[in-house]
């Protein structure tokens, strides 16, 4: 069906699915353009993980000899996966903070005033985060792999890692978007970020779980970030095995779906409360 308001024709129900996709793409484009136009905001999420990778590679190079440490060519090779996860954690928070800013400054109302699917508003924003996550992952690999950090799975493995980075970004973006929707405050989203960082440190991002003991190991064992990192790490260290690909994609996909469902639930709760 179409609605004619004077000479402007509006697509409605007949092609509503196509229209929803078009709207979601337009929202994703906006989200990406916004990020690209704030270099000062995205620079830390691009360079801090690299700085940290270089620092830890030089500081912890001898730890690779600890019993239980997997066979690696360098600590840089070991930390490649955690650099990607760390980077997309940073980047996803930026996207979620932008959603909170939209809510704070009223732009979200403008979106709600349009006859769009509410899901599309959120998915568009998340798709922007995912695209940025893909870009970050490719950037980290391009910069770090030449420094004694080869990917055993080769180029196909690198592509899976980039894809996985995008999915992780989508998952973290969805989790942080839930905070944005619930609080409507960019400060609250930024404030929640240290929690993610703590989770990262209490995971197997920087050392293998096999070398841990006590409470630290117990936390790392139940920490989902451990599994996100280990999935990616399997491609770097084990090669392009079925198990490595599944772990690199399945774990983030499951977390991602759960996080998106939760974020959509938060959005519906917010809209129902209006």
């Amino acid at each position: 069906m179409t609605v004619a308001t004077s000479d402007v024709v509006i697509e409605t129900t007949a092609r509503s699915r196509q229209l929803s996709i078009r709207q979601t793409i337009a929202m994703a484009k906006r989200s990406t353009v916004e990020l690209a136009r704030q270099p000062a905001l995205i620079a830390p999420s691009m360079f801090f993980p690299i700085f940290f990778a270089v620092l830890s590679a030089s500081s912890f190079s001898k730890t690779t000899a600890i019993p239980g440490f997997p066979k690696v060519e360098s600590f840089m090779q070991f930390t490649l996966a955690s650099t990607i996860v760390q980077g997309v954690l940073f980047g996803s928070v930026t996207g979620a903070a932008a959603l909170a800013t939209d809510i704070e400054n009223g732009f979200f109302d403008r979106l709600l005033l349009a006859p769009t699917t509410r899901t599309g508003i959120l998915l568009g924003r998340l798709a922007g985060s995912a695209l940025f996550g893909l870009f970050q992952s490719a950037f980290f690999l391009a910069v770090l792999v030449p420094f004694d950090a080869p990917i055993t799975a080769g180029i196909p493995g690198a592509l899976v890692m980039v894809l996985s980075g995008g999915i992780v970004s989508l998952a973290i973006g969805a989790i942080m978007s839930s905070v944005a929707i619930r609080t409507g405050s960019a400060e609250a989203v930024q404030g929640a970020f240290p929690l993610l960082f703590v989770l990262l440190f209490f995971s197997s991002a920087f050392f293998p779980r096999e070398t841990m003991s006590g409470a630290y190991k117990r936390i790392a064992d139940i920490n989902p970030i451990s599994y996100l990192v280990e999935g990616l790490r399997a491609l770097v260290l084990e090669g392009l095995t079925f198990s490595a690909v599944v772990r690199a994609l399945l774990v983030p996909t499951v977390i991602c779906l759960a996080a998106i469902l939760f974020a959509l639930k938060e959005l519906n709760r917010k809209l129902a409360a209006l």
């Binding site: 609605v3 402007v8 353009v33 400054n105 732009f107 005033l113 769009t116």
Partner: protein
């Protein structure tokens, strides 16, 4: 192409609309009917409930009770149908400062389902209409307040709505930008768009609105054509300023010429029963009572007088 049958109903009808925020009753049973082709002014001070009422009429808030139809559709039952037919420029012109004018118009076009083929022309047409063609490819963050408001208006018009809601469209604008926006609102109205305008500016309501409703503390306290409402107040208002130690004597004198009216702090006002002709008598009596008049003015009834008469106080910032 199918089209929805146009409704014969008035474009905006609100009946006993109520909205609570917790225990606070922000809108208290308002009834509004806006006729096709009208500019309807919703006048009231900050916090009176104007924006809450508009948010309910534009589907952004659910009414706690009561019903409203906009463009022929119930706002609670068919919000998407309402959204397709209305244009809304909200208070503060919430526009993404990182995007350009063109980009925002194209995004808005997609959100309203305007086909790709029409999108480009429609965006250019609207940018030209609001005088932003030269700034179209600049980021909105570099726009002045007036330019943002004009872009906001263009965004609200992307789908050629039949009903346009403008929530305090000129707040914070300089006089030139305000006049330019008024001109555009008049032009749109002349082209057949029904406009509901909320404002806290008396002059704006007086200049633009065919009919107005005055809202205070969530309730509509007066409704009608501005000239009728002003005529209803009747007498002109005499405003005087006197030294503070002579206020009581001055009040006693003024009360003999009519009913005292609310004024801004520091001045006294009376509705002159005998009209402007008795001003010299008032001055003479004040002089006889040894009251030194520092400032005197006679104002024909204004919407502020209507507001003051209805509520017992004057609009914030209004000249008394």
């Amino acid at each position: 192409m199918n089209t929805f049958a146009s409704s014969s109903a008035d474009p905006i009808i609100a009946q006993n609309l109520v909205r609570y925020f917790g225990d606070v009753k922000a809108v208290d049973g308002i009834n509004i009917t806006v006729k096709t082709g009208e500019i309807f002014g919703f006048l009231g001070p900050n916090g009176a409930g104007k924006s809450t009422a508009v948010r309910m009429l534009t589907t952004l808030l659910r009414p706690t009770s009561g019903t409203a139809t906009v463009a022929g559709f119930d706002v609670a039952k068919h919000p998407d149908e309402v959204r397709r037919r209305i244009g809304v420029a909200l208070q503060d012109a919430a526009i993404d400062p990182l995007m350009t004018g063109t980009e925002l118009l194209r995004l808005q076009a997609v959100l309203y389902g305007i086909p790709q083929a029409q999108m480009k022309n429609r965006a250019s047409e609207l940018l030209e209409r609001v005088g932003l063609t030269a700034a179209a490819d600049r980021r909105v963050g570099t726009y002045s307040g007036g330019m943002r408001r004009r872009l906001d208006l263009a965004l609200a018009l992307i789908h050629q709505p039949t009903v346009l809601f403008l929530d305090e469209p000129t707040t914070g604008l300089d006089p030139m930008s305000r006049m330019s926006l008024w001109e555009e609102v008049r032009r749109l109205n002349n082209e057949g768009t029904t406009v509901m305008l909320t404002t806290q500016y008396l002059e704006e309501a007086d200049q633009l609105a065919d009919r107005i409703a005055i809202i205070d503390a969530g309730k509509i306290v007066r409704e009608g054509k501005p000239q009728d409402l002003k005529a209803g107040v009747g007498f002109p208002t005499l405003l005087i300023t006197v030294p503070s130690d002579q206020t009581e004597r001055a009040k006693a004198v003024l009360a003999t010429f009519g009913d005292m009216r609310p004024t801004a702090e520091g001045s006294l006002g009376v509705g002159l029963r005998g009209g402007a002709n008795v001003v010299t008598d008032v001055v003479r009596k004040l002089d006889e009572a040894s009251v030194r008049v520092q400032h005197l003015e006679v104002n024909e009834p204004s919407l502020d007088d209507v507001f003051a008469e209805a509520t017992g106080h004057r609009l914030e910032g209004a000249k008394a």
